[in-house]
C-alpha cells in the first residue's frame, strides 16, 4: 500500500538515487544563462496575467461540448471549475484561467471534482434502517414517515426537540431557505459547521470593528509587505491561496512568518517559523506586542483616531515580558523581538489565521488578540493589511451570513423582537403566525418565548440529547436529529455522540454520502438516509472567504435518485403544511423552488451586511466577464462591470439598481463609500465611560461629515436635512416600518443607505474599533490554560472559567481543569487538515483519485517521544484520551511535531476504537478509505462565548499496539 507522508517518497529502487542526486545538486548563479528563441505557446497563464493563446475544443466522441462554469466545493478560495459537458456527461475539466481567484490553479481536491459526476460511492436512493439493516425506500415513504414522527415529537415535546443541523455545503439560496425553514418549523435549534470552524472569529472580530469576516482578500495579499500566519496551514487547507502569498513573498520580498505548534507545509516556505505550545496564542501575541509597545513602535496616530481602549491592553501586555512568554508558550524572547521588528519594518502586513486559533476554550480571546496586533500596527483598512481570515468550506461564509446559526436570523440580525419583525416584513408573513410556531416555555413560573432564545449549538447537540432534561434551558431533550450535510466525525467526544445517536427517537441524514452518521451507532430502527446532490448538480450563488459572491452553473443533472437540497426542504414544508406561506414570493417549478427568486428575496432583507446589491443578474454578469477584473484589486476595468469589484464583495450597499461596486477591503477610508470605502462600524454605542467611541477627526474620502458619526436612522437624515433626498416611495416605505426610528438595517426601500452614500457616508456610522469587549467574559483577551493542560504549574496563574449554563446547556470549565490528567496522559494532542481530504472526509475519501494518495490514518509523534515510548515509525499504536476512548492508528515518527506534542488529521472515519465498520455502510456506498477519527479521543471543551469546540489542545497517551 502506498503510504504518503510516512515514507514521503515513491517506492522503488530509483528513489534512492533520485534523492541522493538531489542532495548534491546545487545550481550556480553564474551559469544562469539566458536562452534565446521565440516564446510560443500558452504559458502566459503561468505568470499572474491570465489567458491562454487558444482554447481548442476537445474532440473525443460525438455531440457538442459545452463548457459550464462552476466553483469548487471544497475550501473557501472559490476556484472556478470549468466543466466540459457532452451529451449530459461531464467529460473533462479545464483550468478556469479567467478567474481572478485561482487563475486556472487547483489543488488536489479541486483537480478531482469531476469525479463527483461519477459518484461511484454515493448514496443512491433513500434508505431506512430496518432491524439493523439499510433498506431502500421511496422518497414519498421517507418524507411521510420522517414527517409523521417529527410531528409526533412536536406534539409531545415541542418544536425544540427536533434539531435542524444545516451545512456550509449549501449554496446561499439553500442556506437562506434552510434558516427560513427552521423559523417556520418553530425552533432556533438550527446551526452548521461555522460553529466549529470560525464562530470565535465571527464573534471576536465583529465585536472589535463591526463585521466578523475576512477584511481584505486572497488577491490583496499581493500588496502585503509582510505575511503573518498563526494557527493556519493554508498550503494544505487553502493551497491556491499560496499562489497569492508566494507572489507577495517573491515580488515584494515580504517576509513570511508562520506561528504554529507544528512545522507545517506552510512553515516549510516561511522565512521565520515560531513553534509554540498549543493553546497559548494570546500569550504569544502579547509577547510580540510587548516588544512593539516597549519600543514605541505602535502606530500612535492610527490608535488615537481609530482605536478605543488600547491603554487597557497596554497594561495587560506589560506582564508578558519575554521570560513569562517563554515560560508559557515556549517561544524564545529573542525570536519574538525579531518577529515584532519584522512586522514593524514591513508595513502594511497581513495577519492570517485559521482553526489553530479559533478552536479553543478561549478562542474568542485569540481572535481578538490577532485583531489588536493589527490595530497596534495600524495595518487595518489598508490594501496589503487586514485580518485575512481564511474560512474553511466553500460556502461557510455564505451560510454564516445567511444565518444557518442558532443565535441569529439571516444577516446577523439576532433573535430579538425587532429582528423577527424585520424578517416577517421581508417574508410578508404575519408575525403572530410565526410566534405561534414556537414554544413558550413555563419555567419556575416565568414564561419564556423560545423564539427569542439562542438554540443549542451544533457542538453541543449531543448534550441536548444526553443531558438530564431539568438541566436544559428548553422544554425537553433533543429527540430527533437531522444531519443535513454534516460529518459527525468533525466533532469531538464521539463516544458520547454514539450514545446520543442511539438514544434519539429519530436520526435523519440528508447528504450525498451516507457519512459516519450511518455507521457510528448501533441503532436497529428509526434512522433514515436521504440522498441529496452536490453543488455540481444544481446552481446558485456561493460566497468565498473574501465576501465575493460567485454564481455557479449547473454542470450535470442530479445523479441516481438524489434530489437538490431546496427541493427536499420544499417536500418537508409540504408535509408540515407551510409551503404556501414559506414560498409566498418564490416560484416553484414541479417541486423545485426558483433559485433566482430566493436570491432576490434575501436581497430584500440583508441590509446589515449589504447582501442587497448582489442580484442574480449582476452575479451572472460577473462570471461571464471574469477576465475583465484586475487580478490584484479585483476591480473591473471597462466592460459591462466597469468599476465593480469581482463578485460584489459584501457590503454591496443598497438595491441592485443603486449599482454599488461592493467592498474589496473593509474599513479602507482612502476610497469613497460609493466606491467601496468604509469606516469602522459604530456598533457599540457612541460613548463608554464618558469617552466617545466615534472616530476622532477621520472619515472616509469625500465624506460630507468630517468626523465620527453614529449609524444612520431616518431621524438622523432629518436632523442633517438630507431627508429631502428620499423619493416619495422610499419615504412611504420608511414610514411604514417605524417612521423616524427606521434605521439603515430595517429600511426595506434602501433609501436611508442610498442617501447616506450619496453624501459619501457609511450607513453604519464612523466609529473607533474597540480593543476591550466589555460584554464578553474576558473584556481584555487573556491567556487561559486549556481544560486538559499539561502545565499544572500554570493553572493557578492562568485558570480557566467557572462552569456556567449558556446556549441552553450546562458547560464545564474549572470542574474539568481542576483534575490533573497530565501524569497519565502526558502528550498534547492537536489536529488539523491534509490537502487531499476535506472535513470529515466522507466525500473525498470516496474519490479514488484522492483516496489513493492518503490511505491510512496516522499520528505524528516526535522522535524523542517515540523512542521513550518504544514506538517505531509505521507501527500501529493505541492513542488514548482522558475521557476513556482509544483509537488504533499508525505512528509517523517525525520532527514536524515538537517534543511532547502529537498531531492527527481529522478527516478519517469508519473505524471505531479498533473496529472496522465497513460492513455497516449501505452496500456500495462505503468510502474507499476508512480510518479512526481523531475526534473519538478528542475531549470536552467549549469557547466561553460561542461554544466552539476545543480540538487543538488536549491530552493523550500513546502506546504500541
Amino acid at each position: 500500500m502506498l503510504r504518503k507522508k510516512t515514507n514521503g517518497v515513491a517506492k522503488g529502487s530509483r528513489a534512492g538515487s533520485l534523492l541522493s542526486s538531489l542532495a548534491a545538486k546545487t545550481l550556480d548563479r553564474r551559469q544562469f544563462l539566458t536562452t534565446s528563441g521565440v516564446a510560443v505557446g500558452g504559458l502566459a497563464a503561468l505568470s499572474l496575467s491570465s489567458g491562454r493563446v487558444e482554447a481548442a475544443a476537445p474532440t473525443t466522441g460525438g455531440g457538442e461540448v459545452v463548457v459550464k462554469k462552476s466553483v469548487c466545493t471544497h475550501c473557501s478560495v472559490g476556484c472556478t471549475v470549468e466543466a466540459e459537458v457532452q451529451n449530459g456527461t461531464w467529460i473533462g475539466q479545464e483550468p478556469g484561467w479567467d478567474s481572478p481567484f485561482n487563475l486556472g490553479a487547483h489543488c488536489a481536491k479541486g483537480a478531482s471534482v469531476r469525479e463527483h459526476a461519477h459518484g461511484e460511492r454515493r448514496l443512491k436512493s433513500p434508505m431506512k434502517m430496518v432491524n439493523g439493516q439499510w433498506q431502500k425506500i421511496s422518497w414519498d415513504t421517507a418524507i411521510n414517515e420522517i414527517g409523521d414522527k417529527m410531528l409526533e415529537i412536536r406534539e409531545q415535546s415541542g418544536p425544540d426537540s427536533v434539531y435542524w443541523l444545516g451545512s456550509a455545503k449549501f449554496n446561499n439560496e439553500q442556506a437562506y431557505l434552510f434558516r427560513k425553514f427552521a423559523a417556520y418549523w418553530g425552533t432556533n435549534n438550527v446551526d452548521h459547521q461555522a460553529r466549529i470552524c470560525h464562530s470565535t472569529t465571527v464573534a471576536g472580530v465583529a465585536n472589535t470593528w463591526g463585521y466578523g469576516a475576512m477584511t481584505n482578500s486572497y488577491n490583496d495579499i499581493h500588496n502585503s509587505k509582510a505575511i503573518f500566519i498563526i494557527g493556519g496551514n493554508p498550503a494544505e487547507a487553502h493551497p491556491v491561496s499560496l499562489l497569492h502569498v508566494l507572489k507577495a513573498k517573491e515580488e515584494n520580498n515580504a517576509p513570511l512568518i508562520v506561528c504554529d505548534p507544528r512545522f507545517t507545509r506552510t512553515a516549510a516556505h516561511a522565512d521565520e517559523f515560531v513553534r509554540f505550545r498549543p493553546g497559548s496564542d494570546v500569550a504569544l501575541v502579547w509577547g510580540i506586542l510587548w516588544h512593539i509597545f516597549e519600543n514605541g513602535w505602535e502606530d500612535k496616530e492610527f490608535i488615537r483616531t481609530r482605536v478605543w481602549g488600547m491603554d487597557e491592553i497596554r497594561e495587560e501586555v506589560k506582564r508578558w515580558n519575554p521570560e513569562e512568554v517563554e515560560r508559557v508558550t515556549g517561544a524564545p524572547g529573542a525570536q519574538l523581538e525579531r518577529v515584532a521588528r519584522t512586522l514593524v519594518n514591513n508595513r502594511p502586513g497581513t495577519v492570517i489565521w485559521c482553526m489553530g486559533g479559533t478552536q479553543h476554550t478561549n478562542g474568542n480571546n485569540n481572535t481578538r488578540a490577532y485583531c489588536i496586533l493589527q490595530l497596534a500596527l495600524g495595518n487595518m483598512g489598508v490594501a496589503g493589511g487586514g485580518t485575512n481570515i481564511f474560512r474553511g468550506h466553500d460556502n461557510v461564509q455564505g451560510a454564516t451570513d445567511l444565518g444557518v446559526l442558532a443565535d441569529t436570523l439571516p444577516g446577523y440580525y439576532g433573535l430579538s423582537a425587532g429582528a423577527w419583525a424585520h424578517w416577517s416584513r421581508v417574508w410578508e408573513e404575519d408575525l403572530d403566525y410565526l410566534k405561534g410556531r414556537f414554544a413558550v416555555w413555563d419555567k419556575n413560573g416565568k414564561s419564556k418565548a423560545m423564539m427569542n432564545e439562542k438554540g443549542i449549538p451544533v457542538s453541543r447537540w449531543i448534550d441536548g440529547v444526553l443531558e438530564a432534561k431539568e438541566n436544559l434551558e428548553q422544554p425537553d431533550n433533543t429527540r430527533a436529529m437531522v444531519l443535513w450535510g454534516h460529518a459527525p466525525n468533525s466533532q469531538t467526544r464521539m463516544t458520547e455522540m454514539k450514545e446520543a445517536m442511539e438514544k434519539l427517537d429519530l436520526l435523519v441524514v440528508v447528504d450525498p454520502f451516507p457519512t459516519v452518521s450511518a455507521v457510528l451507532h448501533d441503532r436497529k430502527e428509526g434512522a433514515y438516509l436521504l440522498p441529496t446532490t452536490t453543488q455540481f448538480e444544481t446552481y446558485g450563488s456561493v460566497t468565498a472567504s473574501n465576501r465575493s459572491l460567485q454564481w455557479r452553473e449547473k454542470v450535470v443533472e442530479p445523479l441516481f435518485d438524489s434530489k437538490v437540497d431546496h427541493e427536499i426542504m420544499k417536500l418537508f414544508a409540504d408535509k408540515f403544511g407551510f409551503t404556501d406561506r414559506m414560498f409566498r414570493n418564490i416560484a416553484i417549478d414541479g417541486d423545485e423552488p426558483s433559485i433566482e427568486d430566493i436570491t432576490r428575496e434575501f436581497n430584500r432583507g440583508m441590509w446589515t451586511i449589504g447582501y442587497t446589491g448582489q442580484s442574480p443578474e449582476r452575479l451572472k454578469k460577473h462570471m461571464k466577464y471574469q477576465h475583465h477584473f484586475d487580478k490584484t484589486t479585483l476591480r473591473a476595468v471597462g466592460g459591462p462591470c466597469d468599476g465593480d469589484f469581482y463578485g460584489l464583495p459584501w457590503p454591496s450597499w443598497g438595491t441592485p439598481e443603486m449599482n454599488h461596486p461592493g467592498t474589496a477591503n473593509l474599513y479602507d477610508m482612502s476610497l469613497p463609500v460609493s466606491e467601496g470605502g468604509l469606516t469602522f462600524r459604530a456598533r457599540f454605542g457612541v460613548e463608554r465611560d464618558g469617552e466617545s467611541l466615534l472616530a476622532d477627526g477621520v472619515y472616509s474620502k469625500n465624506s460630507e461629515i468630517k468626523d465620527g458619526y453614529p449609524e444612520f436612522t431616518m431621524q438622523m437624515l432629518m436632523d442633517l436635512g438630507w431627508d429631502g433626498d428620499l423619493t416619495a416611495e422610499e419615504r412611504a416605505s420608511i414610514e411604514a416600518v417605524a417612521g423616524p426610528e427606521t434605521n439603515w438595517k430595517t429600511d426595506l426601500s434602501g433609501g436611508i443607505q442610498r442617501v447616506a452614500i450619496k453624501h459619501e457616508c457609511a450607513p453604519f456610522g464612523n466609529a473607533k474599533a474597540r480593543t476591550v469587549v466589555w460584554n464578553f467574559p474576558d473584556p481584555i483577551p487573556l491567556h487561559r490554560e486549556p481544560l486538559y493542560t499539561n502545565r499544572r504549574d500554570l493553572v493557578k496563574d492562568y485558570p480557566t472559567y467557572e462552569d456556567k449554563t449558556f446556549w441552553r446547556v450546562p458547560t464545564l470549565y474549572e470542574s474539568i481543569q481542576k483534575n490533573d490528567f497530565s501524569k497519565e496522559f502526558p502528550i498534547i494532542l492537536t489536529s488539523g487538515r491534509l490537502v487531499e481530504y476535506e472535513g470529515g472526509g466522507d466525500e473525498t475519501r470516496s474519490n479514488p483519485w484522492l483516496a489513493e494518495l492518503q490511505q491510512e490514518m496516522f499520528i505524528e509523534v516526535n522522535p524523542r517521544d517515540a523512542n521513550n515510548l518504544n514506538i517505531r515509525d509505521g507501527n500501529d499504536v493505541w492513542v488514548s484520551g482522558p475521557e476513556g476512548a482509544r483509537i488504533k492508528v499508525k505512528a509517523m515518527v517525525t520532527e514536524r511535531v515538537g517534543e511532547g506534542v502529537a498531531f492527527m488529521p481529522f478527516h478519517f472515519g469508519g473505524h471505531y476504537q479498533g473496529k472496522d465498520l465497513r460492513d455497516k455502510y449501505p452496500k456500495g456506498a462505503d468510502p474507499i478509505v476508512l480510518g479512526e477519527s481523531t475526534n473519538t479521543v478528542q475531549t470536552y471543551g467549549y469557547d466561553s462565548v460561542t461554544q466552539m469546540q476545543e480540538t487543538k489542545a488536549t491530552l493523550c497517551s500513546i502506546m504500541p499496539a
Binding site: G8, V9, G12, S13, R14, S17, L19, S21, K25, L27, R29, Q31, F32, L33, T35, G37, V38, V40, G41, G42, L43, A45, L46, E54, A55, A56, P58, T59, T60, G61, G92, Q93, E94, P95, G104, A105, H106, C107, A108, A111, S112, A235, P239, V240, L242, L243, L246, E250, E251, N253, F263, R265, A268, H269, W849, E852, L853, T894, E895, R896
Partner: protein, 202 residues
C-alpha cells in the same frame, strides 16, 4: 497551437513554490483516467518535516538524450519534433529496462499476471497521446488525452496550485522562471534540469 515552430517541450519544477498539494497528480489521473496504482506523476518531499523541507513534482521529463530510448530492446520510443518522448504500447514487451535507465523513475508497469510479470509500460506523455490517430478512442484508451493536439498544454502544469510546475516550450518556461529568480533570488533551483537536459540552468 500551444507548441509550434521550434518549440522544445520541457517541464520545470520550482521547488521554492511547490507545496506538495498533489494537484498535478490528481489532475493527471482525472485527465487521462489513469487507474489506481499507476502514477505517471508523483510529488516527492525531501527532508519531510524538517527545516529546509522541499517538495518536487516528478514525472517523465522528456529528456533530450533520453536514456529510456537508448536501452529499449524493441525500440518502442520515439521523440516528437517538440522533444516529447512517447512510446508504443503495442510494441512494448514489459521488460523494464527503461525503468532501470530512467533517472526519474518515470516508467510504470501495471501488474499483468502472476509471478511479477509486467504489463505494458505506462508513463507521462506530456499530454500528447501516442502513435495512434490524434484524439482517437484507441489513443485515449492506451495513453490518455492528447491535449497537445487540441492546442493545450499538460494539465498537471496548467492546474498547478502555485504555478510551481511549468510546462511548455523550454525557452518560455525559462523566461518565467528567470523572472522569478530575478525578483526573489535563486532558492532551490530548477530541480532536475541538469539531469534531463544536460545543462544546469534554464
Amino acid at each position: 497551437m500551444a507548441l509550434e515552430g521550434k518549440a522544445r517541450a520541457k517541464f520545470l519544477v520550482d521547488a521554492e513554490r511547490c507545496i506538495e498539494c498533489n494537484a498535478c497528480v490528481t489532475a493527471c489521473k482525472n485527465e487521462n483516467e489513469v487507474p489506481w496504482g499507476i502514477n505517471r506523476r508523483r510529488v516527492v518531499t525531501i527532508g519531510d518535516g524538517k527545516p529546509g523541507e522541499r517538495s518536487i513534482s516528478v514525472a517523465c521529463m522528456h529528456c533530450s538524450d533520453a536514456p529510456c530510448m537508448a536501452v529499449c530492446p524493441v525500440d518502442v520510443f520515439y521523440q516528437t519534433e517538440d522533444g516529447i518522448v512517447l512510446h508504443s504500447k503495442d510494441l512494448c514487451i514489459g521488460c523494464g529496462y527503461c525503468f532501470y535507465a530512467c533517472p526519474f523513475g518515470a516508467p510504470q508497469f501495471p501488474q499483468a499476471g502472476n509471478f511479477g510479470s509486467r504489463g505494458k509500460m505506462d508513463k507521462c506523455t506530456f499530454c500528447a497521446g501516442g502513435p495512434e490517430e490524434d484524439n482517437s478512442t484507441a489513443e485515449f484508451t492506451k495513453y490518455g488525452r492528447n491535449r497537445i493536439a487540441e492546442g493545450k498544454l499538460p494539465i498537471c502544469a496548467e492546474m498547478c496550485s502555485t504555478k510551481a510546475l511549468l510546462a511548455g516550450d523550454g525557452s518560455e518556461v525559462a523566461d518565467i522562471y528567470r523572472q522569478r529568480v530575478v525578483s526573489r533570488g535563486f532558492g532551490s533551483g530548477a530541480w532536475g534540469w541538469g539531469t534531463a537536459y544536460g545543462k544546469k540552468v534554464p
